[in-house]
């Protein structure tokens, strides 16, 4: 019998909990991240993203649960984990008096780099983060937001970490600078694992292999974009651009799939064509059959046919909405219970 050796995950989190006073920031989350994966951490404000990232970086301890980063148990060797990771804090705080090169030297020294290796690593990260010589000699306080962000990312890459944790890496960056950050991650794809939190969903959609959606301290969704699409969007939406009568088209489609419904009917500029948007519960398999039958109808003149896949924003809203609703119901039940238990006055 062949025994498959599963590679050890870079991050393994089991039932992690953290509270700030009465507020439960994390209510027992569990997930794992494999070697070389780029994982996006999504969630509304106050969902517990930064708390999770700070726990995984060894900056703050968790209240309970188990977390292993690069094989290091955070409960036992909290400080040890910092040797294996690169961390970019939210808002990227940097000392303003230092020059970029001085700051990177200081950080490299702090991370245990010395001599030629230190010089070599600084040269590499300056190149990866597109921080040309002219910029590296400038004071951090005089740099633009984009350059400051790149300095923070360069710092996180310095010690050749196995895992890089980026808290909102592209916040406040222009599209070109965001593209540079994406390019940097692409260059390191496979070698280094990335865990990044972001509010820019298109960004996450473009560069992440997998997503974790957090809401109210709980993971409400996890998986690749395709898996999330399948999980949260039950109906398949498809569009047909054609000339012809709505009723005829509808009739034809209904003859193939009776569950199919027309959602929208819009004119396409001045061409006389119309864009019909349908929704079906039978999935993408039915699409091939529908297009074949529509092409047979000469009077319809079908010029376009496409299946529209829901973007991450739709999935994100759907996933977090469910959690909001659940929370709302629980709160209402609690309120009702309290009301029933309140003793009536005289």
């Amino acid at each position: 019998m062949k025994v498959e050796n599963k590679p050890m995950p870079i991050i393994e989190v089991i039932n992690l909990k953290k509270a700030y006073g009465n507020i439960n920031a994390l209510k027992g989350i569990s997930f794992s991240i494999g070697k070389g994966e780029i994982v996006g951490f999504l969630g509304p404000n106050g969902a517990g993203k930064s708390t999770t990232l700070r726990i995984l970086s060894g900056i703050i301890p968790a209240d309970s649960g188990e977390a292993k980063v690069c094989g290091v148990d955070l409960a036992e060797e909290e400080g040890q984990v910092r040797n294996h990771i690169g961390y970019l804090a939210e808002n990227n705080p940097l000392p303003e008096d230092l020059r970029v090169i001085e700051y990177l030297k200081f950080r490299a020294n702090l991370k245990g780099l010395q001599g030629s290796r230190l010089r070599e690593r600084i040269k590499i990260v300056l190149d990866v983060c597109d921080l040309e010589r002219k910029v590296s000699e400038r004071k951090i306080g005089n740099l633009s937001k984009g350059y400051r962000q790149r300095v923070g990312i360069a710092d996180s890459l310095l010690a050749e970490p196995r895992l890089i944790i980026l808290d909102e890496p592209t916040i406040g960056l222009d599209p070109r600078q965001s593209a540079i950050t994406r390019k940097m991650m692409e260059r390191l794809r496979g070698e280094v694992s990335f865990l990044l939190s972001s509010h820019i969903l298109s960004e996450v959609e473009a560069c992440c292999d997998r997503m974790l959606i957090l809401s109210h301290g709980q993971i409400v969704a996890e998986g690749t974009l395709y898996e999330l699409q399948k999980k949260f969007i039950k109906n398949t939406i498809f569009q047909v651009v054609a000339v012809g009568k709505k009723i005829e088209l509808q009739k034809k489609i209904r003859s193939i799939d009776s569950s199919c419904e027309l959602i929208e009917d819009d004119p396409v500029e001045i061409s006389g064509k119309r864009r019909f948007t349908f929704s079906t519960s039978k999935g993408e398999s039915i699409a091939e059959e529908i297009i074949r039958s529509l092409l047979e109808l000469n009077e319809l003149h079908v010029s376009e046919f496409q299946i529209t896949r829901p973007d991450l924003e739709t999935i994100f809203l759907r996933a977090t909405k469910e959690n909001w609703e659940e929370k709302d119901i629980t709160a209402r039940k609690k309120a009702k219970k309290t009301k029933n238990h309140t003793p009536t006055g005289l």
Binding site: I59, P61, D97, L110
Partner: protein, 258 residues
């Protein structure tokens, strides 16, 4: 050890590029030099029984509340204002090492200023050897005693400054807090100077004195140190005070990251 040295180096560099430390050092040394010159001129008319070198140590001690805030106020308050403490703690470094590194840098800077101030009597000895010998500037025991006294108290003063810097984001508030704490500390020493202790609680008082750090009789100890009599208890209780404030600062730094 390496992270400690890295922090120490970076902090010394930060102190050397900060204009406020230069301004404070300049005014402090100028005033101290002026005061020392005035003291030497009027020394023969006073009933000062201690070696003249001790006047410089007293000047340094009483002038510390004006100098130390400028050295220490920046260390943690600035990190807190900019939020760089979190970035710093993401590197493989323990919070006590960080506190120790920052304190050592401030202490080292204080020692540099102390050394510069000790140049005054040294210059008198070099330029006017006869007068210098008459004033006792050639006696190594006076130099050692006075130097050690200020070395010990400088350590505890800077640790108080470091602690004050960790409790606020505002450098000015940190500076004022350091000034207040040091003034209270020195006032306690000044007010209790010359007071006799009751025999009945003398033993208990001695225990508290050793444990808490000569809060009451620092100036009395200076009398011993200035003639070259080294008091071991002062070493012990000043070390206790330094460790106490450094541990408090570490707790505060850890609390900030929670």
């Amino acid at each position: 050890m390496r992270p400690y040295l890295v922090i120490l180096k970076a902090e010394i560099f930060a102190l050397f590029i900060s204009p406020s430390t230069y301004v404070a050092t300049f005014y402090f040394l100028s005033l101290l030099g002026f005061g020392f010159r005035f003291f030497l001129e009027s020394f023969s008319f006073t009933d000062w029984i201690l070696p003249p070198l001790s006047s410089l140590v007293i000047g340094l001690l009483f002038g510390s509340p004006a100098l130390i805030p400028f050295i220490t106020m920046r260390s943690f308050a600035e990190e807190r204002r900019l939020g760089t403490l979190e970035t710093l703690m993401s590197a493989p470094i323990e919070s006590f090492v960080l506190v120790l590194g920052k304190w050592s840098a401030c202490y080292l800077f204080f020692l540099i200023i102390t050394c510069l101030s000790f140049c005054y009597p040294l210059l008198v000895l070099i330029i006017f050897p006869e007068q210098g010998i008459n004033l006792g500037f050639d006696k190594i025991e006076y130099w050692t005693g006075g130097g050690l006294f200020i070395l010990l108290y400088g350590g505890s003063f800077t640790s108080i400054g470091i602690f004050a810097s960790s409790v606020t984001k505002n450098q000015m508030v940190a500076g004022m807090l350091t000034f207040t704490l040091l003034t209270i500390y020195i006032s306690l020493m000044a007010f209790s100077f010359g007071e006799t202790t009751h025999e009945s609680y003398n033993h208990i008082y001695n225990i508290i004195e050793i444990g808490l750090g000569n809060l009451g009789n620092g100036l009395k100890k200076l009398e011993q140190f200035s003639v070259g009599l080294i008091d071991i208890a002062t070493f012990f209780n000043q070390s206790v005070l330094i460790i106490f404030f450094l541990v408090l600062t570490t707790i505060q730094v850890n609390r900030l990251n929670r």
